[in-house]
Amino acid sequence: MILYERHYNWTPEDTRRDIPFAFCCPSNIKRLLITFTFSPGAEQQPERCEMAVERALTRYYDRYPRDIQPMQSEQFFPIKNLITLSLERDGVYLGNAHRWQTEQVHILTTKHASRGFEPPCAMEGTWAGMLHIHEILSQVCEGYLRVEGSEDA
C-alpha cells in the first residue's frame, strides 16, 4: 500500500530549504519502506563549480594569505548535491539519513530500522518527515519520494 508519493523539481534557490511531508500509517501496517532518489547527484559543469567554490575559498581565507594553506577550486570538483531525509512518528524524532547516496531505501519496523533511524515504538500513527536540501548546485535536480506500507514485518 502506497502511503505517500511525490515527485519534486528543485533548483539552487531551494538550497537551505526544508520540504516537509506527512502520512498516516494504519494499524495493519507492520513495515514501512521509504524510497528516496534524486538526480543528478553532482554538478559536473566546471564553470558552475568554479564560481561556487571560489566564493567558498574567498570566504574561507578571509584576510589570510592563501599560501598558508594552498587549495585549488578544481580539487573539489565535481560538487555533490546533498539532500537528506529525517523522520518522526507522533512527534517523536526517529533520526536522519545524513548520507550522500542518490538512491536510498529505508526500512522501518518496531524491531529494526535502517541506519540513521531508531525503530518506532509502534507503526500506527501520524508520521512526518522532512527532506533537507543542504545544497543543490545543479540547475535542476529531480527528486522522488515514496512510502509504502506492508502488512508483513
Partner: protein, 319 residues
C-alpha cells in the same frame, strides 16, 4: 591529575562515516585513545551497538550527536534525549542551547571556519549567538594537519577574543573521524583526577581541563599554597609559579616523531606572549601576570613548517 586522550568528534555508517560503531571503537582503541564519543550527523541510532562495543573494549564512551544544519554544525555531548535541530534558524540558537543544557548536554561549535558550501555543507558557523558564555566548547582544531590550517588560526583568534571578554569556553580538537587514513591528526586530552568515565569526561570539558596536542602533550598547572591550579581554574594574578610538563611518549602509534619537533614553549597572557621557555620534560617557572587568562603553547616544526603551534593548554584564569 591524569591526562587521557579522547576523541570527541566521530561518524559511523549511521550517517556518512565508513565505520560501524564497533569498528569505530576498535579503531579508537588501536590508536591509543582512552575514550571516544559517537557524534553522528543528526542521529543517535548507532548508540546501542556503540554501547556494546564500549563495554567490550574497556574504553570510555561518550554519547553525542552532531547537529548538522544549514547554519553550522554543533556537537552535543551527554544529552539524555533529543533536542530537535530542525527548524532552528540563526537567531534561535541560544534557546536551543538552553534546551540542551536543560537535558544535561554540552554544546560545542564544530569547525567554525571550515571550508563550507558547496564543498562541505553548513560547515561555517553562521548561528547568531547572543550568549557566548553558554557555549561549552569550541573546536579550534579540526581534522588532519590542524596546526597549519587557516581555519585553525581563525578559530583560535575567535577563541582568544572570547577569552578576553571573560567567556570560559573550552578549546577542543576534533578528528571529525569518518574513516581510517594515514594523515596526521591532533588529540584532545582530558584532565581527570578520579575514575575515567563519561560524566567525568563531560565535567572536564565543562571545566576546561583540556589540553590539545598534535604531537607531544604539554600540560600546565599553577602551584599555590592551596594546592595545584589546573586549566579552567582560577588563581590570583601577580607572581604565578607554573609547572610545565611535556610528554613525548603519549599516543605512541598516532603521531610522527620525525616530523613533529618541539622547539620552545611560550606563555600567552590575554593574547600576548609574556615568556619564552626551552623545551624540557618538566620545568617550574614564576611569571608576573595580570588579570585575565594565561595559556601555554608548544611551538615547533610540523612537517617541515617552522614556528607552528603544535600543542596548547586551555587557560588558567588570573583574578
Amino acid at each position: 591529575m591524569k591526562w587521557y586522550p579522547v576523541e570527541l568528534h566521530t561518524h559511523t555508517e549511521h550517517s556518512d562515516g565508513d565505520f560501524t560503531p564497533t569498528q569505530l571503537v576498535q579503531a579508537a582503541k588501536a590508536r591509543g585513545f582512552a575514550g571516544v564519543a559517537l557524534t553522528d550527523h543528526n542521529t543517535k541510532s548507532g548508540a546501542t551497538e556503540f554501547n556494546a562495543a564500549i563495554e567490550k573494549s574497556g574504553l570510555t564512551g561518550v554519547h553525542g550527536i552532531e547537529w548538522t544544519t544549514y547554519w553550522g554544525h554543533m556537537l552535543v555531548l551527554g544529552e539524555y534525549t533529543y533536542t530537535d535541530w530542525r527548524g532552528v534558524t540563526p537567531d534561535m540558537i541560544d534557546e536551543a542551547i538552553k534546551r540542551i543544557h536543560d537535558h544535561c548536554g554540552l554544546v560545542g561549535i564544530a569547525h567554525p571556519f571550515a571550508l563550507s558550501n558547496p564543498v562541505n555543507t553548513g560547515y561555517h558557523w553562521e548561528f547568531q549567538i547572543a550568549d557566548w558564555q553558554a557555549v561549552d566548547f569550541l573546536e579550534v582544531w579540526s581534522r588532519d594537519n590542524a596546526p597549519c590550517k587557516v581555519q585553525s588560526l581563525r578559530a583560535i583568534e575567535l577563541w582568544e577574543q572570547l577569552l578576553n571578554r571573560g567567556c570560559h569556553i573550552t578549546a577542543t580538537s576534533g578528528r571529525d573521524w569518518h574513516r581510517e587514513d594515514t594523515r596526521s591528526y591532533a588529540h584532545t586530552y582530558v584532565g581527570i583526577e578520579d575514575e575515567l568515565n563519561e560524566q567525568n569526561v563531560l565535567q572536564a570539558i565543562r571545566d576546561s581541563r583540556i589540553c590539545l596536542a598534535a604531537g607531544p602533550l604539554l600540560t600546565m598547572q599553577a602551584e599555590t599554597a592551596q594546592g595545584p591550579v589546573y586549566p579552567g581554574q582560577q588563581t590570583e594574578s601577580g607572581n604565578v609559579t607554573l609547572k610545565l610538563c611535556m610528554d613525548d611518549q603519549t599516543m605512541p602509534h598516532d603521531w610522527d616523531r620525525t616530523a613533529i619537533i618541539p622547539e620552545k614553549i611560550v606563555l600567552v597572557q590575554n593574547g600576548e606572549v609574556i615568556e619564552t621557555l626551552p623545551v624540557c620534560a618538566e620545568q617550574t617557572v614564576t611569571v608576573r601576570t595580570q588579570k585575565g587568562w594565561l595559556r601555554a603553547d608548544l611551538i615547533g616544526r610540523y612537517f617541515g613548517r617552522e614556528e607552528q603551534r603544535i600543542a596548547l593548554t586551555n587557560p588558567i584564569w588570573t583574578a
